[in-house]
């Protein structure tokens, strides 16, 4: 009798854990797309873009425009929004960032510029779209049960998108010349330059890819949290930072693993403690990694 009760409680615990793992997989998918975008751009340009969170916000709001105002399908809206965000990201690099690089502005000034940009963009979105909550008009689709894990069809699509994108990024980095050029710039920018790598074109491409992934991540994040405000991206940014730093900053594969780790740990912890403290858990991981393995837990040597 007593044994039965305990067994039931334990099986209950396990199913709670697995439920958390299910949620974690979805969060990890969103996070992986966003983290790889940030870390790719860092690898090539060697500075952190603090306006990256706003790229997510812009993607989410563009998709809202396409789906709610122009009545397009949500996935088509997502694709259009991601392409447009890629363009905006490219433009921002050309118009705002490049003038500073040409004058060889110090890193500190560059970081101040990206944070000024983040303030400008977030308030810009808020000025245009208003501060209130928005929501896509989509059906989450059929409920799919895999053991105790519960997914909606939409969430499974998100996981699928993440897997496809990560594979594409892997193939790009590993087998194309442009991917090799990106990795070489990440390794040693000066050596890459004197070896004839077209720095400008590779940098442009890095911002395009980074913007595309950010825009797309913004849309799937907005779908996942159901309702969003112009603070969507800036509130998510430091969770992206946590994933990127856990994996070793500038390392795309590290970012994927970091996203998986942060996604799983935060969502599983939310099964046991108040979910308002999810971000605190992500922060704790960030602090522990910075204290004990600042180069990232999945790395042994220098950067990529």
């Amino acid at each position: 009798m007593e044994w039965n009760k305990r067994a039931r409680r334990e099986s209950c615990d396990v199913s709670l854990l697995l439920m958390g793992v299910g949620f974690g997989l979805i969060t990890a998918s969103v996070l992986a797309i966003a983290s790889v975008g940030l870390t790719l751009q860092f690898g090539v340009t060697n500075f952190v873009n603090f306006a990256y969170g706003e790229f997510l916000t812009i993607g989410a709001y563009l998709a809202y425009f396409f789906s709610a105002v122009a009545n397009l399908n949500i996935w088509l809206s997502m694709l259009l929004a991601a392409l447009l965000t890629a363009g905006i990201s490219w433009l921002i690099n050309r118009v705002v960032i490049q003038p500073f690089l040409k004058r060889k502005a110090p890193l500190l000034i560059l970081l101040v510029v990206t944070i000024g940009l983040s303030l400008f963009l977030e308030n810009g979105v808020q000025a245009i779209a208003g501060p209130s909550f928005q929501q896509y008009v989509t059906a989450p689709g059929a409920i799919v049960n895999i053991g105790p894990m519960i997914f909606t069809a939409q969430q499974l699509v998100i996981v699928g998108i993440a897997i496809v994108l990560m594979t594409v990024v892997h193939l790009l980095l590993k087998y194309t010349r442009i991917g090799k050029a990106m990795r070489s710039m990440s390794d040693d920018p000066d050596l890459a330059r004197i070896s004839g790598v077209p720095i400008q074109r590779v940098t442009d491409l890095a911002w395009l890819i980074s913007g595309f992934l950010a825009g797309l991540a913004g849309v799937v994040l907005a779908i996942n949290v159901t309702s969003f405000t112009p603070a969507l991206g800036s509130q998510f940014l430091f969770i992206i930072f946590a994933a990127v730093i856990v994996g070793g900053i500038g390392r795309p594969y590290g970012a994927m693993l970091g996203a998986l780790l942060i996604g799983l740990v935060t969502e599983v912890s939310a099964m046991y403690i108040d979910s308002a403290y999810k971000t605190v858990v992500a922060f704790a991981i960030l602090v522990i990694v910075l204290l004990f393995r600042p180069q990232g837990i999945f790395t042994s040597r220098g950067r990529v």
Partner: protein, 334 residues
């Protein structure tokens, strides 16, 4: 008292407080090159601890849930606020300043800002949660028993005293051997380390002292307004101070005074009168945020040294000192 005098007094008080904020940030960024992207969190911690040190014990009911409640007389709460901010700075600095590139500390500060904000809002027994503290006693007014209008004069005098003391200390620090090491670290960390300076220690000291300025400034703010809640420390507030520093002249404490006048006072007060639209209640706030962001970018682009640039010492063979605005980044022993 006319409303104009009242308004000018308020502006003067905030001008003093923003100068104090600015000197702290200037010590961190302008002098040492530390990126603190959540300076306002240190202000908030100072304000909260000063607040609960000055308040009567909470009754535990609505509006009365907070720690301490020591009901201490005035000069003590700002000291407690300063200490609280210093302790937070020690913790943050320990994680973010050690053997890492400068962007890591920036990332840590951004994260700490979010976390402290979430924790203070959600843990009501600390500082009364999202509602925040209210009814913090005005310094010395139990003696003077003045109404709010006349009390403004007393508070202005208190603020001026704090500002003068703050300016004196920061100028002494800036021009001391300590300040010289900080400038050397800003220009080239590796060189400073090669000369035997413990870079981490110096950076930590600059970070902590700068945060004490934030904490004391926060303590004055809560003593003046009498209330404080999480909506008072948003990212935008941090960057108003940043913009003031960049516009006024980073590395120059006098420039900081100018910046504290131009940005928070003129700029913030000026955009306050933007018309409000019924469809978008926060339109004026959003436009102000865009303007602050744009100002940061433009200041960094066209005049990163600010209106009053830092005066750099130039090496001369005859041993005489010559101050002036120079293009080079040389820092030489005097």
């Amino acid at each position: 008292m006319s409303s104009l005098v009242f308004y000018l007094l308020t502006v003067a008080i905030f001008f003093c407080i923003y100068s104090i904020y600015g000197w702290g940030l200037n010590l961190q960024f302008g002098l040492t090159g530390i990126l603190n992207f959540t300076y306002i969190t240190f202000v908030a911690i100072g304000a909260y601890f000063a607040g609960v040190a000055a308040l009567q014990p909470g009754n535990g009911g609505i509006g009365g849930q907070y720690i301490l409640g020591w009901h201490l007389p005035f000069p003590i709460p700002p000291i407690i606020g300063g200490i609280a901010a210093a302790i937070l700075a020690l913790l943050v600095g320990y994680v973010g300043l050690k053997r890492l590139r400068s962007d890591y500390l920036a990332i840590v500060t951004v994260s700490v800002g979010q976390i402290v904000w979430t924790l203070i809002g959600n843990i009501t027994p600390l500082f009364n949660g999202w509602d925040g503290l209210a009814g913090v006693p005005q310094p010395f007014n139990s003696i003077f028993q003045l109404d709010f209008n006349h009390y403004q004069w007393i508070f202005l005098v208190i603020c001026i005293l704090f500002a003068v003391l703050g300016f004196w200390i920061i100028e002494r620090l800036t021009h001391s051997p300590f300040g010289r090491v900080l400038r050397a670290i800003r220009e080239d960390e590796d060189v400073a380390a090669a000369l035997g300076k413990n870079v981490f220690r110096y950076k930590m000291m600059a970070f902590v002292i700068g945060s004490i300025y934030a904490g004391v400034g926060g303590a004055l703010t809560i003593a003046y307004i009498g209330a404080f809640n999480p909506s008072g420390f948003t990212t935008m507030e941090t960057f108003i101070i940043w913009a003031a520093m960049l516009v006024g002249g980073s590395g120059n404490n006098r420039g900081m005074i100018l910046g504290a006048f131009i940005v928070p006072v003129l700029f913030n007060e000026g955009t306050r009168f933007l018309p409000s639209t019924p469809g978008n209640p926060l339109l004026a706030v959003s436009i102000r945020g865009m303007a602050i962001g744009l100002l940061l970018i433009l200041a960094a682009r066209y005049r990163p040294q600010g209106i009053l640039p830092e005066r750099k010492t130039i090496f001369r063979l005859d041993g005489l000192q010559q101050g002036g605005e120079v293009g080079g980044d040389r820092v030489v022993p005097q």
